[in-house]
Amino acid sequence: MKSRILGVASIVGIAVALYFALVYAPTEQTMGTLQRVFYFHLPQAILSYLAAFLVGFGSLMYLATRDLKWDRFAYCNAELGVLFTTTTLVTGMIWGRLAWNVWWAGDARTNLELILGLLYVGYLMLRAYLPEREKRARLSTVFGFLAVLDVPINYGAIYWWETQHPKPVLGPRGGGADPDIKLAIYVSLLAFAFVYAWLLTKRLQVAQLEDEVGSLESTMEAS
């Protein structure tokens, strides 16, 4: 039931967000229509970081409670992390090719996003090669926890690089953006947050079934 509500909210939200991004928001003066890719790029980037925090949270909770529920929570978020870092990088590259005439500017934030994606992939690969359920949860949880600590250090390490990435438009330091543009960003962020929550609930259900099948199989082998 919960996932059905979220599913409807996602579809309606994306439709509304498309209207806001493509019709409602005014065309930006310097970059023109190209700037509209930004309404998809920014929310996805924010959610790709949210995924990192949720992986870290799930990992800590697993270490504290040893409940497989939290392990599932952590790795379902890591999978969504791969999805959202990929879409962030793809939309970013489309922008970069047209605005700066390069696919990959080697910009600080771009590199950070890529490293984040690689950490998610490493986490999922580690899980794939640990057949034993309890061991998989325990070792990947430790890796997930250590990897999340890496995110702020990474951010600090590349922050001082001169960045040609556009300055932040949201938040206290991000002034200067048209209120209509800001509104379109918020609408899009909300829509993608619904998509994220929907995919997460669906994936968690599947993961729970996978675990149930796994434990049934091991009891059958034992008998």
Partner: protein, 219 residues
């Protein structure tokens, strides 16, 4: 401190006898430097050198880490270590110290070859580079010791370590390369920033690994 010292002494005694980790790290690191210096023939070496050096260091370092932890797993030596009266955290610190010693020695032997093959000068900057090497390697083995023990327990064994280690040590490699190139360009003004990133990385990961190590070796 005594249990930590005992583990380091044990590792040094083993390494002194078979010299496996040290020779493989040293030769592999030298080969990376040689291949790079052939591949970048004719380009500006001063620009490329810092990156080259740290790629060689991290590849060689991964090789050494794999050797050091597989050795414990292969003959079930880890069981013995876990049964001995020392805390999991001390075991971690001992392995880090041992890995740090071997990796550093190999790296400091690679360094002069790197200078010669790239036609750089033997001057005071080298002392700085040695210092950056120490700090960078500390961060590298601090996380690497934990990750190699994780990857050694998977089906893929050592093949998995680079997949986990390289993205995780990105801030170390980045900051070490930045610091090295600042030193080589004789304009060490902004060097405190990358050095403090290296320091923070080592502190965070030694502390975090010290506490989570018991979850990795749990049976």
């Amino acid at each position: 401190m005594r249990p930590v010292a005992a583990i380091v002494a044990k590792d040094i005694a083993i390494e002194y006898k078979n010299k496996e980790a040290f020779t493989s790290m040293l030769l592999f690191g030298l080969l990376v430097v040689v291949v790079f210096s052939f591949a970048f023939e004719g380009s500006d070496r001063k620009l490329l050198a810092p990156g080259m050096l740290w790629v060689a260091y991290s590849f060689a370092g991964i090789l050494g880490l794999n050797r050091s932890l597989n050795m414990e797993i292969d003959n079930d030596c880890l069981q013995g270590l876990l049964l001995s009266p020392l805390s999991r955290g001390d075991l971690y610190l001992g392995k880090v110290a041992g890995n740090l010693v071997f990796t550093l020695i190999a790296e400091l032997v690679i360094l002069p070859f790197f200078v010669i093959l790239n036609n750089l000068a033997f001057n005071r900057a080298l002392l700085w580079i040695a210092g950056i090497t120490l700090l960078g390697t500390l961060g590298f083995v601090a996380i690497g010791t934990t990750l190699s023990l994780i990857s050694a327990q998977t089906r893929m064994k050592e093949v998995l370590l680079p997949v986990l280690q390289i993205p995780m040590t990105f801030p170390v490699i980045l900051s070490a390369v930045q610091a090295t190139s600042l030193v080589m360009s004789e304009d060490a003004k902004g060097i405190s920033f990358p050095l403090s990133v290296l320091g923070i990385f080592s502190t965070v990961y030694i502390t975090a690994s010290y506490f989570v190590f018991e979850y990795i070796v749990e049976e």
